[in-house]
Each structure stands twice: as C-alpha cells, then as structure tokens.
C-alpha cells in the first residue's frame, strides 16, 4: 500500500506545483485577446477609412511618428524617437529610430512618410480625411489640385532618418493629430504592387499583401467573421508586447454581442444594450465600464428656415429640453448632461461661459412668445429628422413630448435610413435633425471649427465672420491659456446663436473581462495594445 500512496502523493504534488506556478506566471495562459469590434471595417487602408472599428484594427498594425501613452494618450515616441519644434512653432523635425522596421524587414524611412503623405493628398485618391493634413504648408492647395508640385508642400525627408514638417500656421495640437491614422505611414512599394498608387480599390490591405510597421501583423481577414492580428517579430518595441494575438469580431448587433460576452467568447465588448446596464450594475459591476468619451449628441437646427431663423425660437427649443431627465430615464445615468457643446476637459479646455442650456421652461415660453408664438399658437408644422434606430427614436419621442408640454408646439418625427438621412442633413432638407460628433483628436478645435462658415460639417446655415475670426485667432494664440480664452468666447457665441442644441456627452459603455489588464479609461477609448495583457483569474 505504501508505495502506491507515495506515487499518488507525488503526482498530487507535481500537479499542485504546476498549477500554482501557472497562476503566478501570466505567460502561461494563452495571450489571445478577443474583442467585439462593432461593425465590419470598411477597409484597412489608413488613408481611406473614416471609422472607429477601422481605427481599432489599424492601430494594431501601423504606428505613426508618435504613439499614445497608455493612460492619458499623450503623444510618446513612436517611429520617431525624438523631435524638435522651431521657435515660431512652424517647423517640426522628427528623428526616426534606426530599429523601426516594416513587417517585411525593410527599415521605416523619412521618405516612407513623405510618400505616404503624397498619396494621402493626391486628389484622385479621394481621401475623406485628407483635411487632417491641411495644417501643413501647401497641403490643402495640393489636395485640391491647385498646386501640382508636391515638393512645395511642407514635407521634407532631410535624410533617411530625419523628417521635417513645415506647418501653415501654429498648430498647438499638432502632436495629438499625429496619433490619428490619417497621419500613419503606408508601405508604398506594397501599395504600388497591388494596385494603383492614387486610386481606391487597391488590394494591398488584404491578408498576405499587408505590410505594416506596428506591434502586430495582419494574419487573417474574413469579412463579417473575424480579423486576426499576430505579434510582429519586426516591431522595434516587441519586448513590451505581451499579447500573442488579437481577434477582432465584427458583431454589429448589440444584443448578440452581449450574449457572446456572457458566453465568454469575447473579453471586451464594443458596447452594451441599454436595458442590460442596470443588470450588470447590480450583479457584476466589475465587468461594466462607463468611461468619459470625446463626443457630443446634439440636434442641428436649420437656421435658414422659418421660424427657426429667429434666434429666440432656437433658444426656446433648447431651454425647453430637460436634459437631466433624459440622462436619468433614457440613459440610466450612463451619459453626461450637455449644457454646452465641447465635452469638458477636451485637451485641457472646459467651457465656463455664462450662456448655458439649463432647463428653464419658463424662460423658453417667454422667448417663444417674444418671437410671436405665445403658448405655441400659430407655430408652423416642423419635423424632427433622425436616422432609423431604436435609440434615436426614443430620444426624439421624449424631446417631442417636452416641447409639447413646455412650449405647446407639435413637432412631428421623421426617420430616414442612414444614407438618405445623411443626404438630407448635408443638403439641409430638414427643420431639426439629430447628429453626433466624435472628436478626431483631443482638442477643442475639432468641435468648434465645425461651425465655420464653410465648415465641412456645419449644415445649419450658421455663418458668422466674427466666429470664423475667433477660430482663426485661436490657432495663432501665443499661449495655451490665451487660446482657451478665445475658445471660451467662440463657444459662448455659438451657444447664444444656437444653431445646435447639445443634449448629452457620450460615454464609452462596454463590458470587460476583469482578466484584461492595462485597459485604461481614455477619452478617445483608445487602448494601446502593446501594453495590454491577460492575467489569470483571481
């Protein structure tokens, strides 16, 4: 009997040991991160895509001159190991690190960046984000075809490892801009090999063709099914990278995604159904994350149409909306009331002006009466347009009700399918329409320059030379403090004129497996993957 027990004990000991050692060593659990990524990405060409799901994947595959700090996203060295800025703020010189490599082994050179930017700005490519590069000298002219000679544009490869960028004017947020994928380099030889350099429909982004310089390489891409990226053996900082693979699951239905999360098939979800928030709050609060996010949900008001061309009517509409109630009852207190337009803390800027959209039905009625519609009498029929979606419909119904109760006016609801809605909004064929804006970079400029007279996403008819001047002045402001002061003035003016009706500030609401580490709340909901890893369950 004794020998048998002896062996048994030995086996137990061995098993016990191996188990406890695996608990301590995180490398022994498979470092494969499964992410819910919302929609199927439109593509993986950083110069052609525009969305968030695309960002999530591209940021694993390609690295720009700078990259993001894991906690607050401030620019830290990426391909560039250091940089200098000239005294007047116009010339930036980036020194590229020698060990920065493409996934095919080639070195990342300054010329790679220049050529990438040339492609981005070539008019025939039709890049929607080309305007992100317009801060550079002559970039806009070249992009619009007014200038044919690219050597006049402010990009210069001084030598293999030195890149000089000359700006049009001082751009205080320039380094943050570089973290946007429109500034990422692409591997031009691959682009040329798989299609035309300056045309859409190029196949260089397909698996097998893709050459990147990021912490991961593209391994598999099956449309509507999965995108798999694997740790890159050529990435300069590969020692930091702990994940072996990331699997991006394009699950667009929120209910399906939540069930997939619950079944343990994904570690982090893209979002969470509103009706599940209270459940997680009560039962598994450690899995629910609600992080501040750089976005505003608002309504556009068509200032060209009667009676909305009267500022008092616009203000009345804005003051008659009880935002507290919306946040509490529709969104389960997961979003923040927006009494102004730029989300608080955007690049260190928070609006502090007097003009605020407090709920004030009394004052709203008064304003409406002054505009000639006492008690809503004689107010013409108007409609509120939104893109077909359950969430937008609920919001519109609540606000419709508030306007009826507080102002005595009837607004009818109209929903249009996404593309039709976009067209209607852009051609200003609406009275009031729903909108959302997610900042391109963490700076107030991305929220306030929308309302320039010729702003690309204005669509309200709001046009004020004085406002345009303020935004232009802000770019030239000698200090960050003065710049913020100018933004204060501009936003005050915007709120007074009220071409927009802010409702709430977005948050990133998602589910996360507590084993995922180094997944910090950040304002753009970016999570630099090279630091992320999976820890064993406690």
């Amino acid at each position: 009997m004794y020998p048998r027990f002896f062996w048994l004990a030995l086996v137990c000991l061995a098993l016990g040991c191996s188990k406890s050692s695996s608990d301590k060593n995180s490398d022994s659990i498979p470092q494969i991160l499964h992410l819910g990524n919302g929609a199927e990405p439109e593509g993986l060409d950083p110069q052609l895509v525009t969305g968030v799901p695309e960002h999530n994947i591209i940021s694993a595959l390609i690295e720009g001159l700078v990259t993001e700090d894991k906690k607050d996203l401030h620019p830290v060295p990426g391909v560039a190991e250091r940089w200098e800025n000239s005294e007047d703020g116009l010339v930036w010189t980036f020194h590229l690190r020698a060990e920065a490599k493409w996934s095919n082994g080639a070195t990342v050179t300054a010329n790679d960046f220049v050529e990438s930017y040339r492609r981005m700005l070539t008019p025939t490519l039709g890049s929607q984000y080309a305007y992100m590069l317009h801060v550079v000298k002559n970039a806009e002219e070249y992009n619009l075809g007014k200038l044919k000679d690219f050597s006049q544009v402010g990009f210069e490869a001084v030598n293999e490892r030195q890149l000089k960028i000359t700006l049009k004017g001082p751009t205080p947020y320039f380094l943050s801009l570089l973290n946007h994928y429109s500034w990422f380099p692409v591997h031009i030889p691959s682009v040329n090999e798989h299609g035309e350099f300056d045309k859409q429909g190029n196949r260089w982004t397909l698996p097998g063709n893709f050459v990147g310089n990021g912490p991961f390489v593209l391994d598999k891409w099956e449309i509507n099914k999965i995108i798999v990226v694997k740790k890159s053996p050529t990435y300069w900082d590969r020692k930091t990278v702990r994940l072996e693979e990331i699997h991006f699951h394009p699950i667009s239905d929120v209910e399906v995604e939540e069930r997939t999360f619950r079944a343990g098939q994904i570690h982090v979800s893209n979002t969470i159904p509103l009706n599940k928030i209270e459940v997680y709050r009560k039962k598994e609060p450690e899995k629910l994350r609600i992080d501040t996010y750089l976005g505003t949900y608002f309504y556009r008001l068509n200032t060209k149409r009667k009676p909305m061309n009267d500022k008092r009517v616009r203000q009345a509409l804005a003051l008659a909306v009880d935002r507290e109630s919306i946040v509490r009852n529709v969104h389960h207190r997961t979003v923040k009331v927006a009494t102004h337009f730029t989300p608080p803390g955007t690049g260190g800027y928070t609006y502090e002006g007097k003009m605020r959209l407090e709920y004030n039905p009394e004052r709203a009625r008064q304003l409406l009466a002054e505009a000639g519609f006492p008690g809503g009498k004689g107010f013409p029929k108007m409609s509120l347009l939104y893109n077909s979606s359950e969430a937008h419909r609920r919001m519109a119904e609540v606000i419709q009700q508030m306007w009826k109760q507080n102002l005595g006016i009837d607004i009818e609801l109209a929903n249009e399918e996404w593309k039709v809605y976009l067209k209607s909004a852009q051609e200003m064929e609406y009275d009031i329409c729903r909108a959302g804006w997610i900042g391109d970079y963490p700076d107030a400029n991305t929220f306030l320059d929308m309302w320039l007279t010729d702003g690309g996403n204005n669509y309200t008819g709001f046009a004020s030379p004085e406002y345009d001047q303020l935004i232009a002045d802000a770019a030239r402001a000698p200090s960050a403090k003065e710049r913020r002061a100018i933004f204060q003035k501009a936003e005050e003016m915007l709120l007074d004129e009220m071409p927009v009706l802010p409702i709430y500030f977005y948050t990133a609401r998602y589910l996360i497996d507590p084993r995922v580490r180094e997944w910090h709340p950040t304002i753009l909901n970016h999570h630099p993957y090279k630091h992320v890893y999976l820890a064993p369950a406690d």
């Binding site: 199927e40 525009t50 699950i251 079944a263 209607s424």
Partner: protein
C-alpha cells in the same frame, strides 16, 4: 424533359436581364450613394475624380451599358463598401456558409416536419394529430428572432453546451439549424398532413389496401408520392430562400453568410454588391424552381403528358 429544361433555361435569360435592369435603375434613383458618408468629400474636384474612377461620371445610359457589358463577361466589379475586395470573392466565401446552414436547416425541417406531418395524417383528429400540429402552429407563430435567442439562452448561457455565436466548430451549426429549420419544419408538417390526408382518401389507396399491400407499403410507396407534392412545391422556393441566407438567423448567431451582405449592401448603397447578390439570388430561384418542376413531373405522372 430535356427540351423543357433547355426551354426554361432560355427563358431565364430575359428574366435575369429584367432583374438586372430594375436593380440597376432602382439603386441609381434611390437617394444617397456609395460616396455619401458622414464626412463627405466637399471638394467638387476630388469628388469628380473619385466618381470618374468608378465610371460614375458618365451619363446613366452609358453606365448601364458598361454594367451590362461587364456582366456578360461575368465581372461583378469591386465592392464599394469593402475596400479592396471584389463582389465575386465575397459571394464565393459567404455563400458556402449560407448554403451549409441551409442544408442543415433543411435536414432538420424535413426530419421534423415529415415525421410530424405523417403521424398526424395517419391518426387524424387524435392526440397524435393535435399535439404535433399545435407544436407546428407554435413553430409558425414564433419568429426566428425570438426562437434563436431563447435557444441560446437555454443551451449556450445556461447549459453551456454551445457557443452563443460564431461559425467555427460543428457545434456552432446546431442552434442556427434548429432555429431556421424549426420554422420550415412547421410548414412542412402542415403541408404533409394536408397532402397525405387528401391522398389517403383517394380510390387508388383503397385499391392498394384491397390488393393486400401492407399498411407501411401503402403509405410509403403509394401515399407519399402524391401526398408530398405540396411539400415539394413549397421546398423549391424555400430552398432557394434558405440558400441565399437568412439575414435574421445570420445576425442572431453571427454567421458570416450571404444573407447579411444581401441586406447590408442595400443600406450601404454598395451598387455592385447589390446587383451581384440580387442576380445571384435570382439565378438560384430560377434554378430551384426548375429543379422542383422536374421533381414534380417525376412524382406526378399526370404532368408528364403536358
């Protein structure tokens, strides 16, 4: 028979042409296009260049002729939405998944539906009739978007037997097949019962009984052949519909099939993708209707003469 098949295939050509033409023009006349995005290209020059690249700057008539020309050569074009991918590639990878799901679902539908229908027809107005027929009624009434999540709740989240979504393992096939097949099983059960009841009261069945054929032989050899006609007529379009993919079931179970592309392409104004999937679907329907007609002729001697 051969003549019939050739004739039907020839007739299919104008049908497909009409489908292609209608799809082409309906898409062009719908508000919004593939390049209308949230961050639109404001500059006219850039927009023009982009349209020119896709041949969309030409007059509509010219575009239509180009489209037909490409179609003749079997070229469905590049997808507007999925950058870098071609429409035929997307159909080639997603269709087999929808087809596989369809086969599993059909197997479930036939197995459940035929059994239930036969039992009900052989013992009409008994418990063996009412019970499966009530179940079938429920199957028809409960839509897939309710049935799917219920099955997931029970078998994935509670019992943890299967994944909640995905299309990787054999286990991933079971719940979608049950969900999709269940709905069809209900129809098949009712059609089988109806068809069999009608046939079993016919004179030739009495004759078969009279000449001493065993009851099993009467049902399987004499009865089924006529009794299944309505089921076969139903199965043709049903199979085509199943093969083209079910948007709802593919969404609920996160199956990367053709059904999703079929619906989403329209929302994305992915012109090439819409025409590609619509034509593919139309071809499937034509083919399956033909197959069904052939099977019906084989099953029903009366049709052979005509």
């Amino acid at each position: 028979m051969l003549k019939l098949i050739v004739l039907r295939l020839l007739k299919a050509i104008p049908v497909l042409l009409v489908v292609a033409t209608l799809t082409f023009f309906m898409l062009r006349f719908t508000k919004g296009g593939p390049f209308d995005r949230e961050k639109p290209i404001k500059d006219e020059e850039i927009r023009k260049q982009l349209l020119a690249h896709y041949g969309m700057d030409k007059p509509l008539g010219r575009q239509y002729l180009d489209f037909l020309g490409n179609l003749m050569q079997g070229d469905l074009g590049p997808s507007f939405k999925h950058q870098g991918w071609r429409v035929d590639e997307i159909i080639r990878t997603s269709f087999p998944r929808s087809a596989e799901l369809a086969l599993w679902a059909l197997a479930v539908a036939m197995a459940l539906g035929l059994t239930a229908g036969l039992i009900a027809a052989l013992k009409p107005n008994s418990v063996l009739d009412y019970f499966p027929m009530s179940l079938a009624m429920i199957g028809i009434c409960v839509p897939t978007f309710v049935m799917g999540p219920l099955l997931i709740l029970a078998f994935s989240l509670e019992l943890e037997w299967f994944n909640a979504s995905g299309w990787e393992t054999m286990g991933d096939r079971i719940l979608p097949a049950l969900t999709l097949g269940g709905a069809y099983a209900a129809y098949i059960a009712r059609l089988t019962r109806g068809g069999m009841l009608e046939v079993m009261s016919q004179d030739y069945i009495r004759t078969a009984h009279a000449k001493g054929a065993s009851p099993i032989r009467v049902v399987l050899k004499h009865g089924l052949r006529g009794g299944l006609l309505p089921v076969v007529a139903f199965l043709g379009p049903a199979a085509a519909g199943l093969l083209a993919g079910s948007f709802v079931v593919e969404t609920i179970f996160q199956i990367p099939g053709l059904g999703k592309h079929f619906v989403e392409a329209a929302f994305n104004r992915d012109y090439t993708m819409v025409t590609g999937t619509v034509l593919f679907f139309a071809t499937l329907i034509i083919l399956f209707n033909l197959i069904v007609d052939v099977i019906q002729i084989w099953l029903n001697p009366r049709l052979r003469a005509s």
